[in-house]
């Protein structure tokens, strides 16, 4: 760096390299500098107003700022505004849901749409884990979008199922537990034939006899169709409660559903339990009705 400055009037800083490369003192415009300094003043404001300085947990985690502002507080305030608005806007509809019966709600188009629209999240949270999104079902868990109902597909029956839950019950090896392996083979063939509408064919006579011997008809009905919905599957239709696979059907007949011995489930038995939702759902009086309407409208309500 040369100390000799050949350009004293140019406004350079006196820093000159390689004979002629020099640093000029060209300050930014005044307005620019003023906003630059204003930025520093803003730091004071920020520090006072916002949570800025991290502290130890004992000291409160961070400085609180003048108005105790945090992002989550602001979010919660905004959310409260939205929620209050929502509650006020739909108060009359919620009132009606609480006071009307499910059957009446189904008759009211507007109320029905409202119940369906407000159920989607509840269904996702409480029902879809087993019954699948949209009631599509899962292996071993019933499809809700079809028209086959073990416990009845009327709105009030669906409401009862959700409220108190349902526990399936089918004894192993017939009602008296007296079916031999050969009997089970015969009756399995008969049950598959029933579903295909061929139950009366002569070749399934042996199975038909076992159906009577094992007292299957007590629950499933003399023709394979239950007389009233009480949890027994309709064997004459094309919907299978568990599986249409022959081996699986045989397993169900052999080990039953929810069969217990000394308080323990026996090996191989189907466990099919729907818990009671009156204790599980928030605000159950209204939400159970809402969900009953939703399930009824999935595609197969009666």
């Amino acid at each position: 760096m040369a100390h000799h400055n050949p350009w004293p009037d140019e406004g350079n800083t006196g820093h000159i390299w390689d004979e002629d490369i020099r640093e000029l003192d060209n300050p930014p415009p005044l307005w620019w500098m003023l906003s630059f300094y204003a930025g520093f003043i803003m730091i004071i404001f920020y520090t006072l107003y916002y949570p800025v300085i991290p502290l130890t947990d004992k000291m409160g985690g961070f400085t609180k700022g003048l108005t105790d502002w945090t992002q989550i507080n602001e979010y919660n305030d905004d959310y409260k505004v939205l929620k209050d608005w929502r509650v006020a806007k739909f108060a009359d509809k919620e009132e009606k849901l609480a006071s009307m019966s499910v059957a009446d709600i189904l008759k009211d188009d507007e109320l029905k749409s409202y119940a369906v629209a407000t159920s989607k999240m509840l269904f996702g949270d409480y029902c879809a884990a087993c019954h699948g999104a949209g009631g599509a079902g899962n292996p071993n868990f019933p499809v809700l979008a079809d028209d086959d109902w073990l416990w009845g597909g009327k709105a009030n029956q669906i409401q009862a199922s959700i409220t108190n839950g349902r526990v399936g019950n089918m004894p192993a090896r017939g009602m008296m537990g007296n079916l031999t392996d050969e009997d089970i083979d015969h009756v399995t063939d008969y049950v598959v034939a029933l579903s295909e509408g061929k139950g009366n064919d002569a070749q399934y006579a042996a199975g038909k006899a076992v159906f009577a011997k094992g007292m299957c008809l007590a629950c499933h009905g003399p023709t394979g169709k239950p007389l009233a919905p009480a949890g027994a599957a309709n064997l004459t239709d094309q919907v299978w409660r568990f599986s249409s696979d022959r081996e699986e059907i045989k397993n169900v007949i052999t080990y039953g559903v929810n069969v217990k011995k000394n308080g323990e489930y026996i090996k191989g038995t189907r466990q099919a339990i729907m818990p009671a939702f009156k204790e599980r759902l928030p605000n159950p009086e209204v939400n159970i009705k809402r969900l009953a309407v939703y399930v009824h409208e999935l595609g197969g309500g009666q």
């Binding site: 009037d9 699948g132 599509a136 595609g299 197969g300």
Partner: protein, 489 residues
Amino acid sequence: MSENKKELYRDNGQTGSVLHEFDSSNKNLENIGVEILPVHTSGTVHAKRIDGKFRTVKWIIAAFWLSLFLGPYLRWDGHQAILWDLANRQFHIFGLTILPQDIWILAMILLFFALLLAASTAVAGRLWCGYFCFHTVWTDVFTWIEEKLEGQPNKRIKLDEAPVSLEKLKIKIPKHLIWLAIGLLTSFSFVAYFTDAYDLWGRLFKLEWGGVETTIILALGVATYFFAGWLREQTCIGFCPYARIQGAMIDTQTVVPTYDQERGEPRGRMKRVKPGEEAPQLGDCIDCNLCVAVCPTGVDIRLGQQFGCITCGLCIDACDSVMEKIKKPKGLVRYASLAEFAGKKLPPVWKRPRVIVYGGIMAFAAAAMIYGLATMSPIDVKALHERSPLFVQMSDGNIQNKWTVKIVNKGAEPMEAQISVVGPEGLTYQADKIVHIQPGNVGSTTLLVKIPRKQLTDTNVPVTIKVVDLNNPAIREDYQSVFIGPKPR
């Protein structure tokens, strides 16, 4: 630093801005033959106003913009004739209502005008900038007001330079207030196209404007004042992309205001010839600089076509008035193309490739627009297939699919939409209800369709969902969808 040393060390001016000393232009650009034309950078351009043919044309075209202020007050069938009703997602243009479903027609209108801009530029330069552009027109009106209040350009320059005084404020404050008022009226009129204009006036006096309205009117109003009053030609030269885009769309066949160099040069003032002296051989340009004085962007047209030129033709007016006085033929500066000056004949407009291509696209856009408006259906049907479950096995052996059918009533009468479904043999359907839809609204219902499993030849079987308006059976629409089932056995 002394002058000679500056010469020695900063001869290329590379440590300063090119605009700062434009005579010492960038060597590299100069090497490749690019000439950097001067840009007016020293303060406001105060252009002289003179009468003439193009001046008249400019006023007539500017009057077109009065329709912006008057448009919102037109009524049609009890509603505002032109209303962009964003809240209800409806665009009303006189008797026509356009819903978002038909917005592509609007896109065609935009395409048409975008290409019109390109085509007009190819034929006659920046017609948009010179005559139609709202910035040009507003600036023109603002400077006209300035001239009425402050006087001719020399007076204005003096006033600008004068120190602040009561006399100066007496002139300046009314001017700015009038400018602001025009700006706010402009933004008010703009907003009035998006809401009921009379209602907007009514709510102004009751101080009931919403936050969005207030913000837009204030911001746009101040922006109009700032752009047309303060920035003026700087917008055209420095901000507006058209300045560069349109310049690039001009070719040698484009007619733009051009100075006839052959006729004009060498330029010089006419002098009385003293006896015994030979008269200098001068061109027709007497170097009066009137063409520069009247230019609203402060360019010198005699340097040739340049990006600062918005081709407004005011220099032609100026030059013609001078030619008239000195009894020379008009047209020293005139609308002409470079090809003409090179002695070539211009092909007819419709034989130029650019015009043909632009015109073709414009014709396409216009045809699509007319087709769209002519066939605009008053009903729009969308059927959304349930995604979970895609299909359901029913107990009687049928497969069931579920749709949510949404029907838009784009007409003016209430609609009673009935749904039916056509598909493979054995198909049965159950629509939730007949949908009642008010004009401009959307109705929605659930549709269940069952097909016997043995009829399903594929996992996807086409079905047609038909919707008909019972109030007016001519209104119907079919929606093609697919029925989804299990793999055929």
